[in-house]
């Protein structure tokens, strides 16, 4: 049997070095902290919507592959699905995002430019961001999966580290290239802080230095067709926490509380990420690069 590219990649995975992964606790809000160059982060997450009357219970698992191209550029690929209670489980599409940090040093406010291409159908419920009026939480997967969308999403990420606090704001604009929906808008805002300022000398797992807590708020801001307004759209406020379970793995938990009738009353999110250092250089060496 001849080894193929897939086996090479598996080998690179197995030999890459796990490294530090104390991640931001935010699920929706992006900060200016980029993936370290050459590192690959694998994350598996799920968004679970607790329904209000007329809505359906769903779980939307997704996988992220995040790669640090340079210190200023991070790329990410998403594969997502949706499982609706009493209906079906469907693959809802993929997304490819790029984040670029134009300033090389830390500033009072650090901007990051975000561009994402989405090839998803309307059954998508991962809600990594909410734009326009939010997702359709009433129709069945069968009805929604036929409506395929090619979307271009942009974000302006502004983020500040003030002493030990991180304060981040994201402004979102999305254009559906498949239909005339105008440009849809959204926002996300988050504040977080590590629970401990000093690191202890011991390798404890449950001590406070391994936890970061915060709160984030996100929602839709209408569209150019319906008007730029927060009314009639989904909005959530969510306490969040991340726990560095191991040096190379982080668990994120978030409980979002819906603030409008268009939101789920509760949106539970859980994510587990695993970081591999030096993945890029090992892959390049596999294909003959000298360094």
């Amino acid at each position: 049997m001849r080894p193929n590219v897939f086996q090479f990649v598996l080998l690179a995975f197995s030999l890459a070095i796990p490294c530090a992964a104390q991640e931001s606790p935010f699920v929706v809000t992006y900060t200016h902290h980029m993936e370290e160059p050459g590192n690959l982060e694998l994350e598996t997450s799920s968004t679970v919507g607790i329904p209000r009357s007329g809505q359906t219970f769903y779980a939307a698992p997704y996988m992220e592959l995040e790669y640090g191209v340079t210190t200023q550029w991070t790329s990410e690929l998403y594969l997502e699905s949706s499982s609706v209670w009493g209906d079906s489980t469907v693959f809802t599409g993929w997304r490819f995002e790029n984040r670029y940090k134009p300033l090389r040093r830390e500033h009072w406010i650090n901007p990051v430019l975000y561009l994402e291409y989405e090839s998803v159908n309307e059954a998508s419920r991962i809600q990594k961001e909410i734009e326009g009026g939010g997702p359709d939480l009433i129709s069945s997967n069968r009805e929604l999966r036929g409506e395929h969308a090619h979307e271009l999403e942009t974000k302006l990420i502004l983020s500040s580290d003030f002493h030990d606090w991180n304060i981040s704001e994201n402004f979102i604009a999305t254009k559906n290239l498949s239909e005339s929906e105008g440009v849809e808008f959204g926002y996300a805002f988050g504040v977080s802080r590590p629970l401990a300022r000093l690191a202890s000398g011991s390798n404890c797992r449950f001590c406070s230095e391994n936890f970061i807590a915060g709160i984030e708020m996100y929602g839709g801001l209408g569209s150019t067709l319906d008007g730029f307004t927060p009314r009639g759209t989904a909005h959530y406020i969510a306490p969040v926490v991340s726990w560095a379970v191991f040096d190379n793995a982080t668990l994120r938990l978030s409980t979002g509380f819906g603030l409008t009738d268009q939101s789920n009353p509760v949106l539970l999110r859980v994510g587990y990420s695993y970081e591999l250092a030096g993945f890029g250089s090992r892959i390049s060496r596999l294909f003959g690069a000298k360094r």
């Binding site: 640090g68 830390e106 030990d164």
Partner: protein
């Protein structure tokens, strides 16, 4: 299967090639502003916190600088034991850890709490030269 074995051999060789970096040259463009260089380390009177600094170093820095801070040639990373690094003020090192050096691939570690970055510096001061670079500080 033969190719797979060869690939594994290449991997192992590449890992073992990660030696010290005695040829490290300081980036002359990467200089901390005077105001930042003058900042004192608030943990100077708490040397016991260097143990936490060691843990942070192994988690965040050892991947590129090696577990003893001697740098890695293949990563072009600084040998932190060299006088050219050790002679810098605590404030200058804090500024460099905080901002990183994007043009040389050193990421910013501003995500770490401030005191943890000072802990790292406490630990950096304990690094002792062990390799050939130590014998010739002029390098």
């Amino acid at each position: 299967m033969k190719a797979l074995c060869t690939a594994m051999l290449i991997f192992v060789s590449s890992l073992s090639a990660a030696g010290q970096n005695p040829s490290y040259q300081q980036d002359q463009q990467w200089i901390a502003p005077a105001a930042a260089s003058g900042k004192p380390n608030p943990l100077t009177n708490k040397p016991e916190t260097a143990a936490g600094g060691r843990k942070l170093f192994l988690r965040n820095c050892a991947e590129c600088h090696g577990p003893n801070g001697a740098g890695m040639e293949k990563k072009h990373s600084a040998d932190l034991q060299l006088p050219v690094v050790q002679q810098q003020s605590d404030g200058a090192l804090f500024w460099k850890i905080t901002n990183g050096n994007a043009s040389k691939g050193m990421p910013s570690f501003s995500r770490l709490p401030e005191l943890q970055r000072w802990q790292l510096i406490l630990f950096l001061r304990t690094l002792k030269a062990t390799g050939p670079a130590a014998a010739d500080p002029a390098k």
